[in-house]
């Protein structure tokens, strides 16, 4: 009985605290990984925009490295036009991918070149066809659904390193201080000069991580910049209309009060 009463007393105190604005410390377990430091991103904040050059470089990293294991099943090649490519460039990218095309006349699975209307193929490992392998997550919405978002993805990609003394990651996993339980199945994907950027940007590990994170953020919300642009116009219109209506209302009601 006493416990119940003290519980209610605590509840009342808590409720009272809530109303005078005292926030209760969250009773969460300490995270099993380091907190990803906040990075400055072009798409941050309510007015963020995408640095399309970085998105395009990020796509190059995705195409060369990530796509070996990760799928992007909800994105079609045609969607790449949104990162500033023209129709011919999109066609060229699509045509460079082979996708399954039913069963051929010889009874073996047939392949054909992809078109702009095809989705990005999901590699066998991401389809779960490799026994025992950890399934790499689909990247269509990864930047949105991954706990920690773009900051954490960037931190993960640059967070590999030798484990501290006395720590051995489980077999088959790699030490990464930003991964859940500080171990991750993904081998270090990026390295200096792992790819060559078409625009001549120096491909350091950090630059690659930054670009591919920007690409993943873009692919998760391809209409973010348009949404913000439209929003500014709508808000300007509504504020203007609101001011007009405010004065109209005041004038109409002036003979009432």
């Amino acid at each position: 009985m006493t416990t119940i009463l003290s519980g209610y007393a605590a509840a009342i105190t808590l409720a009272a605290g809530l109303f005078i604005g005292v926030s209760q410390p969250a009773a969460a377990d300490p995270p099993s990984h380091d907190q990803a430091p906040h990075q400055h991103w072009s798409f941050d904040g309510p007015l963020g925009n995408f640095d399309l050059a970085s998105v395009q470089r990020g796509y190059a990293v995705y195409a060369e490295i990530c796509s070996v294991c990760h799928g992007m099943q909800h994105v079609r090649f045609g969607d790449l036009a949104g990162m500033g490519l023209n129709a011919a460039q999109v066609q060229a990218i699509a045509a460079s991918h082979k996708i399954p095309d039913g069963i051929g006349t010889d009874g073996a699975p047939a392949m054909r070149s992809a078109t702009a209307d095809d989705s990005f193929p999901t590699p066998p490992i991401a389809q779960g066809l490799i026994p025992g392998a950890v399934i790499p997550p689909d990247q269509s919405r990864l930047a949105e659904v991954y706990p920690g978002g773009p900051d954490r993805i960037y931190a993960l990609l640059t967070g590999y390193g030798p484990p501290p003394a006395g720590v051995t990651p489980p077999p088959g996993l790699f030490y990464n201080r930003f991964a859940q339980a500080r171990a991750i199945a993904m081998p270090p994907p990026l390295s200096d000069d792992a790819i060559e950027y078409a625009d001549g940007t120096k491909a350091t590990t950090e630059q690659e991580a930054r670009d591919v994170t920007t690409f993943l953020a873009w692919v998760a919300q391809p209409h973010l910049a348009e949404r913000h642009r439209t929003g500014v116009r709508v808000m300007l219109y509504l504020v203007f209309l609101g001011v007009l209506l405010f004065f109209l209302k005041r004038r109409l009601w002036s003979n009432v009060h």
Partner: protein
Amino acid sequence: MAGPPSRHTAETGATGDDSPQNSDMTGFSGWLDARLPVVSAFRTEYIRFPMPRSLNALWTVGAMLTVVLVLMLLSGLALAMNYTPTAAGAFASVEAIERRLPAGWLLRSMHMTGASLFLAALYVHLFRGLYYGSYKAPREVLWLIGVALLAMVMVTAFAGYVLPWGQMSYWGADVAGKAIGAVPGIGPFLERLFLGGDQPGDVTLHHLFVLHFTLAFGIVGIVGLHLAALHVAGPGNPTGLPAKEPEQTLPFHPYFTVKDGLGLVVFALIFAAVLFFFPTLISEPENYRPANPLHTPADIEPEWYFLPFYGILQSIPSKFGGLVASVGAILVLFITPWLDTSPIRSARNRPVYRIGMIALVMSFILLGFAGKHHVEGAWLYVGQLATLYYYLHFLVLMPLVSRRENAALAYGSMIRVGDAR
């Protein structure tokens, strides 16, 4: 509404035949109005309609709700034309809407923001009604229709949330199925009927898609009734005293068209700010993962607008008891006009009831927080206390305060009668 055209009063015309009604309008509108008095009805109900001049800003919420409802219907129709109601195709079709349908991202954002803000405005509308006694005679039917609308909107919102078939959609349907299954006796049968199998799947999606669609149009029809009932006695007002004298009222147009218009623009500003700049306030990232029956999310949580009822559900230790208590929280609203029998309408003139109302709103908000924290730790006691108060307010406070006020009023009139002698 305008009275029926009286066809038998004027026996003019060579044949004694029907002659068109007299109308102060000429041209096509006069011709139409003599045959179908829509023009004069609109004038009576929305131009000249007398409105209490004491209405405050809370009385513009109804207009906001009407406009959002239209927006939901239009965006919903466009979305439905591009949506596939199957377990295999639903998630991909929503992705295609967001990524490739021209302005599809805008349609879907409107529909999602609309759902959240519709429920938000509806709660404001509900508590405004409770605070100012909008349920009292002669507006009981208006109130009943309103509570029925609240229930319909909640079912529609739940059904709509399952349709994208993300992780929260799937596991939300799963939890709802289990809740239905907790009904003694027929529960397991109802659960199977709802899910169409042992777990959410194709049939569940079909059920909820049809339900979402049908109820949406049902809501539009019932809103028509709600408005018709409103125009019988006219709106209540914050003073609680009927505004009968001409000097207490103002014509709907232009006074309340401009006031509602201003309210609408303020609401639209909030709407646009959430839609365009802060969509994370109303969206759940976990629902952008496709439904996976093999992986239960760590934290299954309904949309914010269900959290108070989720809080009640979890505060009661018994599963079925929790279900009864959270459904009962809506049902008790249906009998409110008969629990509160005091003739004094507005809480402004009822000091005890006023404190009770403030406590009710606080309980509702606290229940939301308790639901969000899964009534863990101290939140269990907060949830239980708030649930207790919610019911006490309706079932004990309302009748008691009414009795005291009725007695005081009877005593007062007795004294006045005595003075007159």
